[in-house]
């Protein structure tokens, strides 16, 4: 099972990329944990998580092919 991770704003600087693929992550909490382990700087950043463009407030189960976005505070307009 694979999910695509999209990164935005200052997160693209922490990760050095705008997207990556993660295998075997059952839910959005698992995504956060895996990424915070690999990129400890992520822990210092405020961000929201969206799964298939829906903002997740708790935890959400993932299925193959879903897209998870990590989004720092918006600053459009």
């Amino acid at each position: 099972m694979k999910v695509e991770i999209l990164l935005f704003g200052r997160l693209t600087e922490i990760f050095g990329v705008t997207h990556l693929l993660l295998a075997d992550v059952a839910d959005t909490d698992a995504v956060r944990n895996r990424l915070e382990e690999q990129f400890p700087a992520l822990k210092q950043v405020k961000y929201q998580v969206a799964a298939d463009q829906l903002i997740i407030h708790g935890n959400k189960q993932l299925t193959d092919g879903m897209t998870v976005a990590l989004m720092p505070p918006f600053s459009g307009g």
């Binding site: 999209l6 935005f8 704003g9 200052r10 969206a50 463009q53 976005a69 989004m71 720092p72 505070p73 918006f74 600053s75 459009g76 307009g77």
Partner: protein, 147 residues
């Protein structure tokens, strides 16, 4: 089932005064309109320590932003008796002094256009996944955050 037709709100670089003029001109065919309320966001050359903001580079989660914008438009059309609503937001670099957001609401009477415009701007700033990177005069940068 009603087809969900997404409108592209993004344009590359700044919104020109000419573009705004053309939008206004287009609405003069609709003689049921009595009021237009327009909001323009302009990039400020804010002082940041020793430096100034030279411009803002905008990026977005475009697909999500367009879906969200669709939802916001539908809600505003339901809430206010507006005739039309248009939103244009820059992507890429917008130099200080130029326009990065153009919101245009039209209605029969003034109240609806003004209230719809107000609410649209609030929701755009709070809900659209768009990020602005402030480029300083020494080429350093910092990430903007809406309050």
């Amino acid at each position: 089932m009603k087809e969900k037709k997404l409108k592209n709100i993004f344009i590359n670089g700044a919104v020109s005064a000419q573009f705004i003029a053309e939008s206004i001109q287009k609405h003069q065919h609709n003689t049921t309109i009595g009021a237009h309320s327009i909001f323009l966001g302009q990039v400020r050359a804010d002082q940041i320590g020793e430096e100034k903001v030279a411009g803002i580079n905008y990026t977005a989660y475009e697909e999500m932003a367009l879906n969200k914008m669709y939802e916001i438009r539908e809600a505003i059309f339901e809430k206010y008796p507006v005739i039309c609503l248009h939103v244009h937001h820059s992507l890429g670099l917008v130099p200080a002094g130029e326009v990065c957001l153009f919101v245009f609401c039209s209605s029969v009477h003034r109240k609806a256009a003004m209230e719809a415009c107000d609410e649209l701007v609030e929701r755009i700033k709070a809900e659209l996944p768009i990020w602005g990177k402030e480029i300083l005069t020494n080429a350093a940068h910092q990430w903007k955050e809406n309050k």
